[in-house]
Each structure stands twice: as C-alpha cells, then as structure tokens.
Amino acid sequence: MKILVCISHVPDTTSKINFIDDNKVFDNQGVQFVINPNDEFGLTRAMWFKEKQNATIDVINVGNSNTEPTLRKALAIGADKAIRIDAHPIDGFFVAKQISEYVSSNQYDLIIAGRESIDYNGGMVPGLIAGLTKINFVTNCINIEIDNKSVTLEREIDGGKETLSCNLPLIIGGQKGLVEESDLRIPNMRGIMQARQKPLEVLPTYNSESKTNSIKFHKPDPREEVKLISPDNLDELINLLHNEAKVL
C-alpha cells in the first residue's frame, strides 16, 4: 500500500499573528513553524499502516525551500520520502492542482490530507484534489481501517458520526480521532539522523492558475474592556445580556 500525506507548513498554535509590507504578507519573524496539526494526526495514522500493514509513506508539500525543516520532521517521524513542489502556494486551488498533477503520474492507494489548515483555514485542498482526480473522498475523517482494497471509515457529522465504506484509492481530510494526541510522535535522535539520509525530492511547479487571491490581512479591532459584574449581582448580568447584548 502506497500512502501520500499532504503536509501544510503552518505557524505554531501559540504564535502571535502579525503582517508586514502594508499588511500584504504574514510576518514570520520569530514564528515557529510546525506540521499542521490535522496533518500530524494523519501522518501518525499512516505510520500505523506502515508498521502493521507494510505501507510506504511519502509526504508532499507545495511551498518554498523554507518548508523543508517541516518535511524533514515528517521524515524523522517515519515517512520514507518527501516531495516538495517548489512554488508559493497562492490558494487552495493552486495547491490542489500541483498535488493532483503529481498524483496522476505517481499512483497512490491512499492520500491523507488535513480537514483544514490552521493558517489559511480553507478546508478545501483535499476536496479539490478529489474533484480533480476523481478519487473517492471522505473528510472530517476520525477513523480509518483498510483491508486489502476495501476501506471502513468514520466521519464526524453535525451532531454525531457516521460509518462509511468504499474502495481504494481514496483521499481523506483527517483530524483528531484518526489517532489521539497521546499517540503523536516526537522524533527521536535516531529518526532525526535517518531523516538526513532520506530522499527529499524538489520538483518544479506545474503550470496552473489560481482562482482566488489573498490581497490584504488585518487583525480584529482591539476589543472593549470586559464589563465585570459582581457575583452578588447576577441580575445585572441577565439584564445586560437581555437589554444590551440582546442575546437572551
């Protein structure tokens, strides 16, 4: 079984978000970058298939050379090979097109992406890849089992979950549940040493357009000071919620 895990390179969840160049560009000064959390759950689940079912794992990123430490980290966790498509990821469509082009000349049984990146929050790359390649697609995936070519999955739905089945090849949008937080792996010294020897292939950009563009960023307006209400005057809280905020 050949697995491809899509890796988005994102600011760590504790990062302060700032912009430069007239608010056109994200300021990565002092920001620590990590594997997108949803992708890390996916990669860890892929490791399970590697160890139990002999799968091989490639990881792919569409990005500039500064994403390579993130790809090396994925190799240190246990992926076999990394691919970087050398391009600035303009939008979800552009990224999906790059990955689809790569996939169409390199067959995979399972493609794992995240349900959403925590920077762009598009929630669209895996679905767009599925649309472009006509591969089966399940997002919000919280469990996956594979027996030969047949797959059983669980998917989060609004207000519950459902169990699905389909055949490989398949692409999923993964999230927590695929594995638990406690299953996530911190690369050890041996993994880090091995990762240096593993292939990291850099491919040129496939010719493609984008459909959307991020023009300008800004941060939410600083909010007003909190109104403190004495615990002995809870009627006042209800009054404010009813008459001022109008939410009761």
Binding site: I118, N121, F137, G160, K176, I229, I238
Partner: protein, 320 residues
C-alpha cells in the same frame, strides 16, 4: 444570471442556519442587481422562506437524496447552477456544505472562499472578507473566476427579513452512482449540536471533574444551549471528544458563549473568538479569558453557576 443559495434540510424541515444564508444571498443579489434562487432538497413546506425573500425556489424531491453524499449533492447543485445560469453560489459553513463545496468548485470550474463574514466590498475585482489564522486575522480576498462560491460563516451576517412571494419550480435531477456507502449513522439525540446552537455553555478544568458537569448541563438546559469543553477536559475523558472546541477542536461561532472555569489559552480563544458575545466565569481575575470577554464574573463556579441558573429560570418564566 442569478445568485443561487443552497440551503440544507433535515427530515423534511429547513435547517435553522438557512435563514441567514437566504438573508445574505438576498442582499448579495441586490448588490449585484440580480435575482435570488434558493435551492431546497426534500423540503415539504417552503413557506417559511417567504419572509426572507427569494424570487424563486427550486425544489428537488427525491428519496435517493435523503442521505447526504457529497459527490451526488455537489453534482445536483451544479446541475441547478447551470440550469439557472447562476454565477454566485452561497452555501453555509456546516460540515456537509464544507464537504461538498470543493467538489462543486471543480464541477463548475469555480473559485471558492470559505469562512466569509461580509458582503463583497467590491464587485470588480470581486473582493470579500474572510477569517483566517483560525480567527486571529481577517483577509480581504478576491475571486477571479467567472463562477464564485461563497461559504458564509455562521452567525456572521445575521437575519434580515424581506417579505417576498417566490415562484416555485420543481426540478428533476439525474443522480450519479454512489461510490461511498453509509453503513450506519449515530446521532446524539435530544441534544443541540454545537453547530446549530445559538448559545453554547462551555466548561474547563476549573470544574474539577466530570461529576460536576451537571452545573454546565443544567445551565445549558435552561438556556436551550449546546454544551462544549476545553481540550484538556476531553483529553482526560471527562467529556466526549465531540465537545472539544478551539483551534484544534470544533469552531464555535455562536451568539452567546459562556465559558466556565476555562483559563482562555490562545488555542482555546482562537476557536471561539468569532462568537458574538462572550461571558466568562472564573475565580482568577488574572485569567486571560477576561481580556477576550464582553462580560465577566470573578467568582467560584460552584457558587455562581447554580445561582445564575435559578435566576435565568425565573427570567425565562417571566419572558416567555
């Protein structure tokens, strides 16, 4: 040319978030100087929609569409979009709509933006505001393709009434073959889901243990609210994972979010920040949540919450 709004239904009834989608789409249609078409699938009675204004309602009735399938639904919507020559398609940010939107985008060769919070600020180039960096920032984005799909954030726009009599068209669709089979569905019954709720009551580690969750549940019941929790609470198994909210959990974009015994870590706030009004109850006046909240009570949850609940019950009894 028209604007097409796709709204969801559940067992024949229009889902509540639909009225916001229709309100938004109607304003968008006005801005574009065109008409609004609303698409409903397997809805018996559409008269509720008249209040919010659509020129036309397209009704599809087909028992094969009782269960959601992203591939089949996206294809159905694309058939309707082509039939009505719609260049702007508005969908919600429910899990179903987010699932089908990228597939629809490929079918229609459209550009798609999710998490949209406003009407376009400019029509040429088509420029619209969305949230990114998990609610830590906004982005002005353009859609350059001819056909545009807009995923509206819930509770970002609100509801605008606009009485109008709509014409009704029953539309026949041909369905793609299923490639994915639903084996079973498990719904937490009798409970309001976080996505559907107007009010969410959330508990953190300050509640000390799962045995104290009646505090949260009782308050939620009084308010008709959904319940949620911080990440450590679900990690420790005090509450199910489906209640974990925040940057790495479910997003909350509700009208009122009440945080009890939650410190307000940056990852928690990121996921709940787009809620309109935030109330925090915490015994530590230095808790970071107070900097992100609209109203705060510095006090012990075990004292404050039961008393608040009693007062709210009385308030509800008086005001209903």
């Amino acid at each position: 040319m028209s604007v097409l709004a796709y709204i969801e239904s559940n067992k024949g009834k229009i889902k509540k978030n639909s009225f916001e989608i229709v309100s938004y789409s109607n304003e968008l249609a006005k801005q574009l100087g065109t008409e609004l078409v609303v698409l409903v699938i397997n809805v018996e009675n559409t008269s509720e929609l008249n209040k919010y204004g659509a020129s036309k309602i397209i009704k599809i009735s087909n028992s094969e569409l009782n269960n959601f399938d992203s591939l089949i639904f996206s294809n159905v919507i694309s058939q309707v979009a082509k039939h009505t020559n719609s260049k702007h398609i508005v969908i919600s940010s429910s899990l179903e709509s987010k699932y089908l939107a990228p597939l629809l985008a490929i079918e229609l060769d459209a550009g798609y933006l999710s998490n949209v919070v406003e009407l376009p600020s400019n029509l040429s180039p088509f420029t619209i505001k969305r949230t990114c960096f998990t609610n830590k920032a906004f982005c002005e984005s353009t859609i350059e393709s001819d056909i545009k799909i807009i995923g509206l954030s819930s509770n970002a726009f609100g509801i605008i009434e606009n009485e109008m009599n709509s014409s009704l068209e029953n539309f026949e669709v041909s369905l793609l073959n299923k490639k994915i089979t639903i084996q079973s569905t498990e719904k937490v019954s009798g409970k309001i889901s976080i996505a559907d709720a107007d009010i969410v009551v959330s508990g953190g580690r300050g509640l000390k243990g799962p045995e104290n969750w009646n505090l949260i549940e009782d308050l939620a019941e009084t308010l008709g609210a959904a319940t949620s929790c911080s990440k450590p609470v679900s990690d420790m198994g005090w509450r199910p994972h489906s209640e974990h909210v925040g940057q790495t959990g479910k997003p909350v974009a509700t009208n009122l979010y009440i945080a009890i015994g939650i410190s307000g870590a940056i990852q928690h706030l990121a996921g709940i920040n787009s809620s309109k009004i935030k109330v925090v109850i915490n015994n530590d006046p230095e808790a970071p949540f107070f900097k992100a909240a609209d109203y705060g009570v510095v006090g012990d949850a075990f004292d404050v919450v039961p008393r608040l609940n009693e007062k709210l019950k009385a308030f509800k009894a008086q005001n209903s």
